[in-house]
Structures are given as structure tokens and as C-alpha cells.
């Protein structure tokens, strides 16, 4: 079970898929995203290091997911929780995305909406879109 802490790094099990590393510097009221580009490990073991979105974002996403899927309030959800493992089908996923759009005042492309599979992915997408929004 992933623990969300202020250090904001979460390590996944070795994965051959992606070797990019992102580092998010956490400051009290804002965050900055730095991408280091591709990182090739010299060892055969490759780590995918991804940084969790803000804990508050993950929590808000979890709340919306629980509501949409009618999960009990004490269902333990983590950032890694997969929508499909919770019983969500494509209609649920789209409804979750619509609720997230309303909550965070963002607009998600349909292709992105259908491709979200975990709470983490939803939170990351939200923070990405929020950050990109032009100043009102």
C-alpha cells in the first residue's frame, strides 16, 4: 500500500516499460515540475520513479471515485487503485472524469478520459491540466 507523504516519491516495482524520472519539488503552496528526460539505467534493473500528485488531489479523486462507484466510505483506496479492480466500466470512468472536470474546473480530452485507469493517473492528469490553464 502506497503511503502518501510529504517527500512525494513513490517507487514502483521494476518495470520495463518506462524509464523516465520526474521530480516534483514540494513547496507549501505550489509545486514545480521538472522533467529529466529519459534515464537509462546501466543495470538490468530499471526503476520507474513517479511522483505522486498532491495528496489533496488524490484524496479528492478518491472521494469522487467512491461516490461514483457507490463504494462504502471505509473502502481503502490508494493512488494505485485501478478503476477496473473496483468494478468500474467505461461508463463509470467517463462519469468519474466528468465529475473531476466539474470539481477542478478543467476540460479533459475524450481520448484521455477513456485511458485513465488508476486514481494516480487521474490525479496526475488533473494537476497537469490545472497547471496548464491560462490565468483567468
Amino acid at each position: 500500500m502506497a503511503s502518501l507523504s510529504a517527500t512525494s516519491l513513490s517507487f514502483k516495482a521494476p518495470s520495463i516499460q518506462s524509464t523516465r524520472i520526474y521530480q516534483v519539488l514540494r513547496k507549501p503552496s505550489s509545486f514545480q515540475s521538472i522533467s529529466f528526460g529519459r534515464f537509462q539505467s546501466s543495470k538490468s534493473l530499471r526503476l520507474q520513479i513517479s511522483c505522486a500528485a498532491k495528496p489533496e488531489t488524490v484524496q479528492k479523486v478518491s472521494d469522487i471515485v467512491k461516490e461514483q462507484l457507490a463504494l462504502s466510505a471505509d473502502t481503502a483506496l490508494t493512488a494505485e487503485s485501478k478503476f477496473s479492480a473496483l468494478g468500474a466500466d467505461s461508463l463509470d470512468t467517463v462519469e468519474i472524469v466528468m465529475a473531476l472536470e466539474e470539481k477542478f474546473n478543467i476540460s479533459v480530452e475524450e481520448a484521455d478520459a477513456q485511458n485513465i485507469t488508476t486514481i494516480q493517473e487521474a490525479a496526475d492528469l488533473i494537476e497537469d491540466l490545472v497547471q496548464k490553464k491560462p490565468a483567468a
Partner: protein, 300 residues
């Protein structure tokens, strides 16, 4: 027509399964639609026996499901696919557990015939869909198939028209807007959802290949459950110039299953037999236990 094979076996504690009853492949213009009602499968020993057919990856996925009901349904879904496909091998008895699957380059699952031990290669296509209370599998030959099932009573949390405006085409929104009763409107929304999902799944190229707002599905007048597909041109700003390519290449049927679900079936008409009607044969099943023929429908 009901074929019950092993009712006496269910009484024994550890069960040995009889051979699967073979099936004739669908003809070119047929879709076989199989479904399981999870509530009807109660025997834990039967479920345990089913789990022995699953690959390690499938078992992992079942274990990842949160809660016993979701685990059971995931198990039944894989069992339905494996046992159904195995039954179409009529020349010999094959082990549903030795079927191998792969994904096409867009992620659509298909049979990996080359790696299946003892299986004869067949031009068989399948697609599955499930809800909390029903699991369905469609099978065709020569033409890809997509199916989607939804609970008729499924509530939409958002305003139906707002949802449609966001994701559907203008024509579809206009159609839904003409339905004044909210319940009836919700039902039509769900029907459209299943039809659109079935098309995208039949196409097999992922959701980005056919965003929901780029094609309209509308009912065919004079048919019961018949629908046609029209693609909207993305280029036109002037609604009067809107070009729609409505072709008969993709066939749709919308049916009700078990009194509780809408099921949309979409398959490609290879037009080898121009004008000949297409059929859907619906059967309810409990693998190794019984089949029940539900209906044979003709759709255009």
C-alpha cells in the same frame, strides 16, 4: 431447449467435469451471443474448478479485483470466453485452459492460435462485456464483433443531456432532447451508449480511433432494434453542409437480456451475401452445466 448435463455432479464435494459439448461455428452472417448470470452460479466447487482454466495472468487479475463478487465475476468472464471458444473445436476435445490470448496493436484481445496447443485455427472473433449481474460473450466468424451490455436500470449521475452534449453528436443530442420523460430519456441514452461502445469495440482500434462525437447511431425506421451508423464529417462548420457518410458496412442489433439488460451487438457486414439478413442467436449458459437457447433474431 435446455441441455442439463451434470446436475447430479453438483452434489459431490470435489467435482470432475464432463467434456464440453461441442458447438457449430456461427455462419458468416450470424453472431452467437452467450451470457452468464453470476447469481445462478453458486457452487464453490464449480467455481474452483473454473479457476483451474485460468492463466497465471488471469488469476492475478481476478485476485486484484476488490471484493468477492467482483472476483467471482472476473473469474466467470474468463471462464465464459475460454469454454465457449473451446467448444467450437468440434473435431476433438480440447482443454479450455490451453487457449492463449494476445492483444492486437490497439489492445483488443484475440485468440493467439499459433500458441494454442492442440487447437485448430479458426477465423473466429469474440468480444466480451459485463456488468455486476451479467457477463456476455459474442462470437462471429470472418468479421470482427463488438458487444456491450448495460443494466437497464443503471442510473446516470449527471444530467443526461449535459452528458450527451459532452460526448455524443448533435444529432444524438437532438434525438434525446425530444424525449420528455426523464426515465425514457435515460433509457435511450443507455441504449445509445451500448451501441456506440459496441461499435468502437468491433472496430478494435481503441477509443481514440472513433471518438463518440464523430459518429451518430440512429434507429432504422421500420425495424425492431435495428440501427445504422453515420459518420459526421469533422470539417464542416456550417450545419447545412454537414456531410454524413451513412453506410451499411456496420450492422447493429440492440436486444434485451434476462429482462434486465440492454445488449448491443455490432459486426461488420462483409457483403459477400448482399442483402441477406444477419442473425443473432442468444444463449444463456453455465459452463459445463447447461445451455439454454433464448432467442434467434434476424436483424438487418
Amino acid at each position: 431447449m435446455r441441455t442439463s448435463v451434470m446436475s447430479q455432479m453438483q452434489r459431490s464435494f470435489s467435482i470432475d467435469l464432463p467434456s464440453l459439448i461441442p458447438l457449430q461455428l456461427p455462419s458468416r452472417r450470424e453472431t452467437h451471443l452467450w451470457y452468464i448470470l453470476p447469481d445462478e452460479v453458486k457452487s464453490t466447487s464449480l467455481l474452483k474448478r473454473y479457476s483451474q482454466f485460468l492463466s497465471p495472468i488471469e488469476k492475478d487479475r481476478v485476485d486484484q479485483m476488490r471484493g468477492d463478487e467482483l472476483k467471482k465475476n472476473a473469474l466467470l468472464a474468463r471462464t465464459l470466453v475460454r469454454t465457449t471458444i473451446a467448444r467450437y473445436q468440434t473435431n476433438k476435445a480440447v482443454d479450455p485452459g490451453s487457449l492463449m490470448f494476445k492483444k492486437n496493436m490497439y489492445g483488443k484481445p484475440e485468440v493467439d492460435w499459433q500458441n494454442c496447443k492442440n487447437y485448430n485455427v479458426q477465423p473466429l472473433h469474440f468480444n466480451i462485456s459485463h456488468t455486476d449481474s451479467l457477463i456476455a460473450c459474442g462470437v462471429t466468424v470472418h468479421a470482427p464483433v463488438g458487444i456491450d451490455v448495460e443494466d437497464k436500470e443503471r442510473k446516470i449521475k449527471h444530467d443526461v443531456l449535459a452528458f450527451a452534449k459532452r460526448f455524443y453528436t448533435t444529432d444524438e443530442v437532438n434525438f434525446l432532447a425530444t424525449i420528455l420523460d426523464p426515465e425514457a430519456q435515460r433509457k435511450e441514452f443507455i441504449k445509445l451508449w451500448t451501441l456506440k461502445e459496441a461499435y468502437v469495440k468491433a472496430l478494435g482500434k481503441g477509443f481514440s480511433a472513433a471518438p463518440f462525437n464523430t459518429f451518430t447511431i440512429q434507429s432504422k425506421p421500420g425495424t425492431e432494434g435495428g440501427y445504422s451508423l453515420c459518420k459526421t464529417s469533422e470539417v464542416t462548420a456550417n450545419p447545412l453542409e454537414k456531410t454524413e457518410e451513412c453506410n451499411g458496412r456496420w450492422k447493429f442489433d440492440l436486444l434485451e437480456l434476462a429482462g434486465s439488460h440492454y445488449a448491443a451487438v455490432c459486426t461488420e457486414d462483409d457483403q459477400a451475401d448482399e442483402g441477406a439478413p444477419m442473425r443473432v442467436i442468444v444463449r444463456k449458459t453455465i459452463p459445463f452445466v447447461e445451455d439454454q437457447l433464448i432467442s434467434e433474431r434476424i436483424f438487418l
